[in-house]
């Protein structure tokens, strides 16, 4: 089957990661009281973005190899 699942996984988590990173940077900081003072949106947004980009890289790499 010519459908690489890593592509949608990569796209989705890159989007979520970017969204949370930006929101962590510009959003209301007072709400991080509940997350023990950690800007968890920013931290975890970067982690998810890295994961998403990693998946995308793998998918694009194998696509180039295939064609």
């Amino acid at each position: 089957m010519n459908f690489d699942l890593r592509l949608p996984i990569g796209l989705m988590f890159s989007f979520y990661g970017a969204l949370l990173t930006i929101y962590g940077l510009v959003g209301d900081k007072a709400q991080y009281e509940r997350s023990l003072g950690i800007n968890i949106n920013l931290v975890w947004g970067i982690v998810m973005l890295a994961f998403g980009v990693f998946m995308l890289t793998l998918a694009l790499k194998s696509k180039n190899k295939g064609s």
């Binding site: 089957m1 459908f3 699942l5 949608p8 996984i9 796209l11 989705m12 988590f13 989007f15 979520y16 969204l19 949370l20 929101y23 962590g24 959003g27 709400q31 991080y32 509940r34 997350s35 023990l36 950690i38 968890i40 949106n41 931290v43 975890w44 947004g45 982690v47 998810m48 994961f51």
Partner: protein, 573 residues
């Protein structure tokens, strides 16, 4: 308890739905025949089937239920993983998958037909089909109830929306769609719950802080101080731990009978491995699943332990109170989500929770439409139709299965007892199954009559045992003891439902095992050795994977998995 989702959380949820539906839509053009729809054309790489293998089981009962058990019983809940699931998954991969995949059976009931006879298949297919639609209905009900409770969403709307989403993506992409979305859900759960567990654990003072705060939880219920954080040290006697079981009932009842029975014979999970692209990939599926699975207690059980520690150390409590005044353990995960996650990450955690409910439903629906179409419709109602006809029937069965599930969801919301009753009956039917498969695969003399009557006998044995046993504090009825009451005998006492349940499974298994052997010896083998080739151990050529690199060899992977599992048991002894 109430959670307020922000616009950004809704955006995350909607984007998830779009991806889920988009994957279904992308896969539509690959669905050319029934084999594509029901078996994914046997073309999926092992890492995908492996992650789907865990996720299919990661439904409502797993995420909500394991956290609840973590709060109620502490780290002993990890036995469901480190004694139950993991060894069973290794056994499935090494010893049973060669017969499932090699026989070219399209479903577990079809294997029973090839190995035994038509009536054994029929019994298994029909009970399985009924069970899956009910389970999917219960999953839907649990989701809608939760959304109503914490978000104030409309119960009916939640049911319709979740049903329509699952319907659309399976209708379009069949099993492949379900499998791909299960993988998506796997990553959602891992990435959504990791920050939650991290924050909660940090808040309570790390593992050492948690251990300390769990001491009063244990002593308050008259158990030894370390009961909530030591998995084996308090298993000597049934009265020493909150589960009410000792090591023998645990290892044999939960580990050997219930877990091996579920992971090795339930088509819901086995179907994922059967979709793999070749024999080696099929055998590696449960092993690849085993690696993340053995770490899952950190994501699903640990939150429960943290929540109960908080509950006892916070004035006024942490968890909401249930009907009888005790903490409502099922609210563990939603309470933690609301407490620690800010808007943004809350959307991720919440979407992960919804995804797990939906993939639990989807897993049941894909298993149902396959068994219905191949094992019931094609076998008994309309044989010899075109492949295109069965593909159409598969889609129709998906729609029908979901409509019946919705019916079951409403049934569950009206009559809680009916659902308890049904689950009880399924328990009776399932408990003996593993004995039948074990004898079928490893004893060539086992016959069709032996298997069929062994299964019936095992089910009956389970029902009789249930009627004779009763846990402390329960009244005779759905919890057991009804037969003893009728016969004016005093029931066999158990400390609680769980211990009673483990022993019921053991009785069912033993009855089925002995009956199958006795009846097989008394009846003539109905299959020739030629017919049994590829289905029974002694008549099947051994598979060699010696030419694969070590990390692709099932036996090597299996040994690594078991070694780590033993290590985990020792660390948390």
């Amino acid at each position: 308890m109430h959670i307020q989702l922000g616009p950004i959380d809704y955006l995350i949820l909607i984007v998830y739905f779009l991806f889920v539906l988009g994957i279904g839509w992308m896969l539509k053009r690959y669905m050319k025949g029934s084999a594509d729809f029901f078996l994914s054309g046997r073309s999926i790489p092992a890492w995908v089937t492996g992650l789907a293998f865990i996720s299919a089981n990661l439904g409502a009962q797993e995420v909500i239920g394991m956290a609840a058990s973590g709060a109620k019983y502490g780290i002993m809940t990890s036995h469901f993983y480190w004694v139950g699931a993991i060894p069973a998954m290794v056994f499935l991969a090494i010893f049973m998958m060669p017969f499932y995949y090699g026989s070219k059976a399209r479903s577990v009931p079809e294997y029973l037909k090839m190995r035994f006879d038509e009536k054994t298949r029929g019994l298994n297919a029909i009970s399985f089909a009924v069970m899956t639609v009910f389970s999917s209905g219960i999953s839907m009900y649990a989701l809608a109830r939760l959304l109503e409770l914490i978000l104030g969403w409309n119960f009916h709307l939640s049911i319709i929306v979740s049903a329509v989403v699952v319907l659309v993506y399976i209708f379009l992409g069949g099993l492949t769609s379900a499998i791909y979305n299960e993988v998506l859900q796997f990553f959602m759960i891992v990435l959504g719950f990791t920050p939650l567990v991290f924050l909660a654990l940090k808040d309570i003072g790390g593992w050492s802080g948690l251990k300390e705060k769990l001491i009063p939880v244990a002593t308050g219920q008259n158990f030894a101080p370390g009961t909530w954080t030591q998995s084996w040290s308090h298993m000597g006697h049934v009265g020493d731990n909150p589960m009410g079981v000792e090591w023998f009932g645990m290892v044999m009842g939960l580990g050997f009978v219930l877990s091996f029975g579920y992971w090795c014979t339930d088509f819901l999970v086995v179907q994922r491995a059967m979709a793999a692209k070749n024999m080696n990939a099929a055998r590696r599926t449960p092993l690849i699943a085993a690696f993340p699975k053995m770490l899952f207690p950190a994501l699903v059980i640990l939150p429960g332990m943290i929540a109960i520690a908080m509950h006892y150390s916070t004035p006024g409590g942490f968890l909401p109170a249930g009907k009888d005044g005790t903490p409502d353990y099922n609210m563990t995960i939603p309470t933690l989500l609301a407490h620690y996650l800010p808007t943004g990450l809350l959307g991720i955690g919440f979407t992960a929770l919804m995804a797990s409910f939906m993939s639990g439903m989807a897993g049941n629906v894909t298993a149902f439409n396959t068994v219905w179409t191949y094992d019931i419709y094609q076998s008994y109602l309309a044989p010899n139709k075109s492949d295109h006809h069965y593909l159409w029937m598969g889609r129709f069965a998906t729609v029908a299965g979901i409509i019946i599930s919705i019916g079951c969801a409403y049934l569950a919301s009206r009559f809680n007892n009916i659902m308890d009753m049904l689950q009880l009956v399924f328990g009776f039917v399932n408990a003996p199954l593993f004995a039948t498969f074990l004898l079928g695969m490893f004893w060539r003399r086992a016959t069709g009559h032996g298997a069929f009557f062994g299964l019936l006998g095992g089910t009956l044995g389970a029902a009789v045992f249930h009627g004779m046993a009763l846990a402390k504090g329960n009244v005779p009825g759905i919890k057991g003891g009804w037969l003893a009451e009728r016969l004016h005998l005093s029931p066999i006492p158990y400390h609680n439902d769980m211990g009673q349940n483990f022993y019921m499974a053991l009785v069912a298994w033993t009855t089925c095992f002995v009956l199958t052997i006795v009846i097989s010896l008394a009846t003539k083998q109905n299959k020739t050795d030629g017919e049994l080739k590829g289905l029974v151990y002694s008549l099947t050529p051994k598979i060699s994977s010696a030419d694969e690199p070590w990390y692709k060899q099932p036996a090597t992977l299996g040994i690594i998995v078991l070694a780590i599992t033993v290590l985990l048991n020792i660390i948390f002894w």
